[in-house]
Symmetry: C3
Subunit: 329 residues, 3 copies
């Protein structure tokens, strides 16, 4: 694919410094690997030396970098170069692939009572249950199940293998056997939500499971029944959120992190990858619960000490007392 710089600024705005509307671009590249036909971007001033060395035909920069960028050739000045880059990828994809498809693929199995917006897309081999509602411009890529009664907002994107509205995991124990608690709630998903491949969002037990607007879930994420994920939070791959946990707005949950049930996580909290959250977090910040990686040999030594850690603590206390006693003699 080929576009000219002029087409890009006409579509996305930004100031093209030093002319060059006719310069031909055939790829988007990072600064290091850019070719003479690449457009690139500088989102962090720390990489300014990379920009100087780059072969890119054009670099998108912030206003503060205008002079430096102009010295090396064509540049586009934009308030936020990384956001500009994101919009450029969208422009690029639209040029390459044209409009996204609309309608229901003939291989999908859609219940006649489902309400699907006319410009939504239900891809191949999807299953859409009774009473489901799917909003305008939402796309179900392929092989997705949306179970009975669940609701998905507008402009959402669901990747292959997603399962919305399977039963939450709820049982009552009667004499050692598990009696199923039917899950009578549903899943309600807001607008502008993206859900990664093979991610699962269970329906609520009595009330609903809720994913607010603008949430982004990566692949293989598990969202249990009655979880509430606040607007514009992101959850990375393999993470799990147990039943009835409430994640605030604008949170960031790292890959393979897990949040126990019934906890509340404050707006704007970040959880490091693979951390386990065992208590509610009231104060936003970055929280971590990772055992540091070591050679297996070192780990074996430290793990052995760790099992005696509370004993070590007692030994230190005794030493302190003894030392105190020795001084007073």
């Amino acid at each position: 694919m080929i576009v000219q710089l002029g087409q890009i600024v006409d579509a996305l705005g930004g100031e093209l410094v030093g002319g060059g509307r006719e310069i031909v671009i055939s790829r988007i590249s990072p600064l290091e690997t850019a070719q003479a036909d690449s457009i690139s971007f500088l989102s962090n001033p720390r990489y300014a030396t990379q920009m100087a060395a780059s072969r890119a035909a054009c670099v998108v920069v912030a206003p503060a970098m205008r002079e430096l960028a102009a010295q090396r050739g064509a540049c586009i000045v934009a308030a936020n170069p990384y956001v500009y880059f994101a919009k450029l990828t969208q422009f690029w994809k639209m040029q390459q692939q044209g409009m996204r498809p609309v309608g229901v693929h003939p291989s999908a199995v859609v219940d006649p009572t489902a309400e699907i917006a006319p410009d939504a897309y239900i891809g191949p081999l999807c299953v859409v249950g009774a009473g489901v509602r799917i909003g305008a411009a939402t796309v179900l890529r392929s092989r997705i199940t949306v179970s009975d009664g669940c609701e998905i907002g507008e402009r959402c994107l669901l990747h292959p293998g997603v399962v919305i509205g399977a039963d939450g995991f709820g049982f009552a124990n009667e004499a050692g056997q598990w009696i199923k608690i039917e899950q009578l709630g549903k899943v309600r998903i807001g607008n502008d939500v993206e859900i990664g491949a093979n991610t699962c969002i269970d329906r609520g037990a009595l009330d609903d499971t809720v994913i607010e607007d603008g949430v982004k879930l990566d692949n293989l994420v598990q969202i249990a029944h009655n979880v509430h994920v606040g607007a514009h939070s992101v959850i990375a791959g393999n993470a799990g959120v147990a039943g009835s946990a409430r994640i605030g707005q604008g949170c960031s949950i790292g890959g393979a992190a897990n949040i126990l049930g019934h906890l509340t996580i404050a707006d704007g909290t970040s959880i490091s990858p693979t951390s386990m959250v065992t208590r509610s977090i009231r104060q936003p910040g970055l929280y971590t619960g990772i055992f540091p990686l070591q050679t297996n040999e070192q780990w074996e030594k430290n793990a052995a000490s760790l099992k005696q850690l509370h004993v070590l603590r007692e030994r230190i206390k005794k030493l302190e007392s003894a030392l105190e006693g020795a001084k007073q003699q």
Copy 2:
């Protein structure tokens, strides 16, 4: 949906105290959020004050709570209110949705040699392989694969995306290359087993992978080849069980916990979420292996100390000796 209390006790038993068979119920709710048309339940005496304050039209209580509950209005006395609640959700779903479907959805791909009970249900876009056996009243919701030769008992429920009988992960290394070990065993699943969305149970290498009666698996669980899960054990979401591990009966494996291969876990063992089980457990109990969550700042300090933990231990030993020496002077 609307039901009368009289219908509920006629169907599920329990003693309706203080009349009110004609009271109309239109939802099941927790005590806190109950409305005037809600039925609720008190499963833990600790929440008795919540009951007193609840607006619920009727509360299901244990015999010991009979007097207290009767003071506030209609109540149903049942031996185990939580089990009663579970059965009520089943009654509710049946009223709402009627009988579950039976038969094979026309979009499913079923090998002609598969033996499927006449009242089982194979939902849309499922794949059922050669020689598979599926027992009475078992339900495959949608988009499920049951591979050649695998067996599923009666009254099981499989959620969308489940994969039964993919090849176990087995290879022999020959000069740096991996030679596939064909997996000649199958998967055998007992009765009353529930399997969550996108969960995978691999076929055995030589012998079979076995899931006994009454086991409940949550979403995105990985069960490797030749694993044996004992009756009425539960495994929460994202957990993994490596090859040939043997989990006893009535165990409870927390979310994202992992069990190494070839281990044995005693009947009645509980494993905390995200814990890693690296040795067999002979004694039932609750076992945990979680690094405590901290602010990232604290974690950085502790992780650095942790790498020196065995050195700390040595320093304490020396201090003890020196102190002993000082005293004897």
Copy 3:
């Protein structure tokens, strides 16, 4: 199924010691559970006593075990008995099931622009996108999505539920909202790659995600955008590799282990299960980051101490100084 020892050595080589070409074998078994009609194998000399006690009709052994094995009956001598066993399972499966199927199952949804080798197999209810290329003898079992433009080499095996080429997880934040970065790269998979059930490999952002020849991925593995997995590496179930990480050749990543983004892992590195890799590994070896499993009671004590670990360290330092001071008095 029944085969004679003569058929086995004719097909797979190895020296049949002491005659017995006509001995009938009807199963492959481990030494301990072998029956009189079993063929078994001794891959580790440590288990030589198990061999002596085994009821197996024939044991496959290394040259060094020839005498010992011959004393108890028929044996096949092979350079690497475990590799011989692997090839025997392949022979066995071929005898049982005949040739694998070829062609495209009529229920699969394949874009007309996809290029599929004539002897590849696209199983039931798969989705193959525009411009996809699938090499000779590659098998897609069932319910697999290969997204637009992705490439899969020869002799690969993909298990049900696999998703190749969903969008990588990339967004730019603009005033608290997430702007999608379209993922313009693809996924390129080499030859002889096996991919487990419900595993996801995302397409690259600008460049491609690459899985080299001979890689084996287990179930429910997450491979993020722009990851590069070197030839003949294996990744066990539930593991995750974050964006742009680069795993060398011949690595072994344990189950539920996670590797952070943009890291480099040296050729031949092994990572223990559930470990979290937070830094690049330049030196091959076995690395571990697991919190040791304990009873929950012990864990509570140690976790409390652990939160004070850096304080403990300071206390030891003070003790050392004080003791030094006491000695000098």
